[in-house]
């Protein structure tokens, strides 16, 4: 009698295996640290994308604010660029704070791209968010060029390029070339689109949907994307039109 339950179960399981139209789930297991466990799921990866995206959003906004010094003239802009290298002194060594920021940004970019790639791979219908994918790729390639142009100076046409002290001249030299200016404009349009969907997705992925937030999520995403994209695009236009020289 003790094996009766087992015998009954076998009779029935034989039916189950033979039958169509009833998919079965794997048993759930928990393993690894809390964060690793969260990250293993697609929802967790969306979280990682949202948090890294948020870091990058804060950065692009500060980056824009700093660059507005372009309109205050060469002296102001160059002084600001030089300050970036000494900020945090004397607690930190020269360039320390700057590098700390850079490390955070590098980590955020890696997490953002890795999570995006893994999510795309996980999706059975190999589709992902098409807009986000191509806008993300354009922005990613642009960042590489942008660093080579204005951060490291490898591609910058300014013969006097020097880290920090010649920022104004570097920008003007670069944007004077209509091809480069056009590239910046196109890339920032892609960035705007990316930020619009990203900023809105941020609320969704982080689960910020309470009634106080809900009504202005969409508006915030639009405003954020427009401010950043328009601000950034204004620089090459200003240089090309001679408003900044």
């Amino acid at each position: 009698m003790a094996d009766d339950g087992a015998r009954m179960a076998t009779t029935h399981q034989r039916h189950t295996r033979a039958r169509l139209g009833a998919q079965t789930a794997q048993p759930l297991r928990r393993r690894g640290s809390l964060l690793a466990e969260l990250y293993r799921s697609a929802v967790g990866k969306k979280y990682a994308m949202a948090i890294s995206g948020l870091v990058l959003m804060v950065y692009v906004l500060l980056h824009l604010a700093g660059n507005l010094k372009l309109y205050a003239g060469a002296e102001s802009m160059n002084a600001y660029a030089a300050w970036l290298r000494v900020m945090g002194e004397p607690v930190l060594p020269e360039g320390g704070a700057l590098w700390a920021v850079r490390v955070i940004l590098i980590v955020a970019v890696i997490v953002h791209i890795a999570a995006a790639a893994q999510l795309t791979a996980m999706n059975r219908a190999d589709f992902a968010s098409r807009t986000m994918r191509w806008s993300g790729v354009i922005v990613g390639l642009f960042i590489v060029y942008h660093l080579a142009d204005l951060t490291f100076g490898w591609l910058n046409p300014n013969p006097d390029f020097a880290h920090g002290s010649t920022a104004y001249g570097n920008v003007v030299a670069s944007f004077s070339n209509p091809v480069v200016a056009g590239l910046y404009i196109v890339a920032n349009l892609a960035l705007g689109l990316h930020l619009y969907h990203g900023a809105w997705s941020l609320f969704q992925s982080m689960g910020w949907s309470n009634p106080a937030v809900k009504p202005w999520r969409r508006g915030f995403a639009i405003a954020f994307a427009v401010v950043v994209a328009a601000g950034n695009i204004s620089f090459p236009i200003a240089v090309l039109t001679g408003a900044v020289a």
Partner: protein
């Protein structure tokens, strides 16, 4: 044959309690030695499976749906009754009992109905704890509304989708047991026969709807919770797949069928709009709380409804039944509508409806409140008819909706086959000749959550140690062979007409002769017409495809074949019962005012029919009904 209803002794209020004390118990460790098969996953089936699983039994659930959540209980709209008396309006268990007996026109078993009224409160508690989102008041307590046939507000509701929410609660509780391994769930299998051996049920035969394979399931007890048979009428408010096959095949194996002629025609459905319509849509009875029913006083009045002044309207329910008005019970409201339409007062393009008008309610409450209460029903109506019920009165007409008849069961819900139980609409037990609104959900859940889990143990306890009948036993083999032969026979007819054609024809005969009103000549005519149609079905039906795949024509053919036999029994029962009671209205038996005239001398009993090959008079057993607590009286809703 003697029918022993096994009604416990003692005062009515103590019967259930006494009975539960006297029932044999199965020790918790022994429960896992028993397997119970539950057929159907609606309110009664899912709640029974969940509870039996929680108790420790091995349970097998069979459903022909792709998911148990699709069962037709999901479509119940209005609500569920319970005598909580949260409104302090004079409700009590006794009153709910009284209303249900009276509403059933004194053709139900007092002890069962009292138990139902007693258990109702615990259903509300259970469902609420499961997270069923019943309507609430601003203070956070549960809201109630009133319903047809009652003068108190005792109906709990979840917008216009109470059945959906209660079913999902029971489904979820059952899925929890599936997860824990207590319930084995089989989807897309259709039960086609019960296996009876040595005087008791031993299992069932079910067809895998996708592969055509006949599966054999052995169990110590079997519960049929497979719903009602309104689809015998073809056009009804039931879901397309709802059918009588499980209970009918059990009937053919020896389970008596009680009061098959007691069918409920629901007063508030959307009238038929074209001849090829596949089903009728119910508009919840709760609409009658705020809507007023009327027809033009002049049958030739062709004006649009909003142009007809009050003085030219006949609010006939308010006129004929002043104290209940638009909330008169279903059978009465339906017959009144039929009378109006038959007298030429019908409205709409086919003159086959009456108006249900919300203009007064919208003026009194505002359209926001009306939308809050009935919004989803109004939207449903607008989708189907293309008319806006906020501006134009709805058109409604009665339609087959629920069947009070079903397998005869004793107080333990056991049929006349030992070990075979019937629960919910599949049994005949609690509603007599007419079911009150919001009582079907109550009965299905009372049976499943509370009655069966207690009574099944009493049957199983003495069988401890009994092995399941092996599925290769000759009894299983023979039954499976019968089922296979029936399938092969249907596929081999190779006639010219579709199954639906025959179903529509059968439905037309039943609706015309065994619908809202019946008479001897019509019923006799129906019996011979059904016999002729059945003959034609067996020679001229075309069932395309084969058995080894998903074949909906084959499935329907089997169900319609059963409806032919059941339809004949419905007519025979209606012919036998020479009285009018509840939904059963014999034209020969009415008062001068056209109200139902019961004959308590001759018919205060349950008529339980035995199986007989069609064409001959089946054997009848009667269970006398004793009314010790509610005085037999002519129902009056005036």
């Amino acid at each position: 044959m003697e029918l022993d209803a096994k009604i416990p002794e003692g005062p009515i209020a103590d019967k259930w309690d006494t009975h539960r004390f006297n029932l044999a118990l199965v020790n918790p460790n022994n429960k896992r030695r028993f397997r119970v098969i539950v057929v159907g996953s609606g309110l009664a089936g899912a709640s029974a499976a969940a509870t039996l699983g929680e108790l420790g039994y091995h349970v097998t659930v069979l459903t022909y749906h792709d998911s148990p959540r699709r069962a037709h209980s999901i479509a119940a709209q209005g609500g569920i009754n319970a005598a909580k008396n949260y409104r302090n309006d004079g409700d009590s268990i006794r009153r709910l009992f009284h209303d249900t007996i009276k509403g059933g026109d004194f053709r139900s078993r007092e002890a069962n109905v009292y138990r139902l009224a007693q258990l109702a409160n615990a259903i509300i508690d259970q469902a609420t704890a499961q997270g069923v989102p019943f309507a609430r008041e601003y203070g956070g307590v549960l809201d109630n509304r009133s319903f047809g046939g009652a003068q108190v507000s005792r109906t709990f509701y979840a917008r216009g989708q109470t059945g959906q929410q209660l079913l999902l609660g029971a489904y979820q509780a059952m899925m929890r047991q599936v997860h824990q391994g207590a319930v084995d769930l089989y989807t897309r299998v259709e039960m086609l026969d019960v296996v009876v051996h040595d005087g008791a049920v031993r299992g069932v035969i079910a067809r895998d709807r996708l592969s055509g394979e006949l599966l054999r399931f052995a169990g110590h007890a079997v519960v049929l919770a497979t719903g009602g048979y309104s689809n015998a009428f073809y056009l009804s408010t039931n879901a397309k797949m709802s059918n009588a096959t499980a209970i009918w095949r059990a009937h053919r194996r020896g389970a008596r069928f009680a009061n098959p002629g007691f069918t409920q025609i629901h007063p508030t459905c959307i009238p038929q709009s074209d001849l090829l319509q596949s089903k009728l849509t119910l508009m919840s009875e709760s609409l009658r709380n705020d809507g007023r029913i009327w027809v033009p006083a002049d049958p030739d009045d062709e004006r649009p409804p909003n142009d007809i002044p009050d003085s030219d309207r006949d609010y006939y329910l308010e006129r004929m039944y002043p104290s209940f008005g638009n909330l008169a019970p279903r059978d009465i409201a339906s017959r009144a509508a039929k009378r109006m339409v038959d007298a030429g007062h019908g409205v709409g393009p086919r003159k086959n409806g009456v108006y249900l008008d919300f203009a007064d309610a919208i003026a009194r409450l505002g359209s926001d409140t009306v939308a809050e209460r009935y919004g989803n029903l109004f939207d449903m109506y607008a989708d189907i008819t293309g008319e806006d019920p906020y501006r134009v009165p709805m058109r409604i007409y009665p339609a087959p909706h629920y069947t009070m008849g079903g397998l005869w069961v004793d107080y333990n819900l056991m049929t006349t086959i030992p070990g075979l139980y019937a629960a919910g609409e599949a049994n005949f037990s609690d509603h007599g000749a007419n079911r009150l609104g919001a009582s079907a959900l109550m009965q299905g859940l009372a049976d499943g959550y509370f009655v069966l889990p207690a009574t099944i143990g009493d049957y199983l306890a003495p069988r401890l140690g009994e092995e399941l009948l092996p599925t290769d036993h000759p009894a299983f083999v023979a039954t499976a062979k019968d089922v296979q032969e029936r399938i092969d026979r249907l596929l081999a007819v190779g006639g010219t007409r579709s199954v639906d054609w025959f179903h529509r024809e059968l439905g037309r005969v039943l609706w015309d002769q065994c619908g809202m009103t019946r008479n001897q000549a019509g019923l006799e005519k129906a019996i011979s017409e059904i016999a002729a149609l059945r003959e034609e079905f067996h020679t001229d039906v075309r069932v395309p495809g084969d058995n080894e795949q998903l074949n909906q024509s084959l499935e329907k053919a089997g169900r319609v074949e059963d409806f032919f036999e059941l339809g004949e029994l419905m007519c025979r029962d209606a012919l036998y019962r020479e009285e009018s009671c509840g939904g059963h209205f014999r034209e020969e038996c009415q008062t001068a005012e056209g109200e139902a005239l019961r004959d308590d001398e001759r018919f205060s009993h349950v008529a339980a029919w035995g199986w007989q090959e069609p064409g001959a008079e089946p054997s009848l057993a009667v269970e006398p009904l004793d009314f010790a607590h509610v005085a037999l009286a002519t129902r009056s809703y005036k």
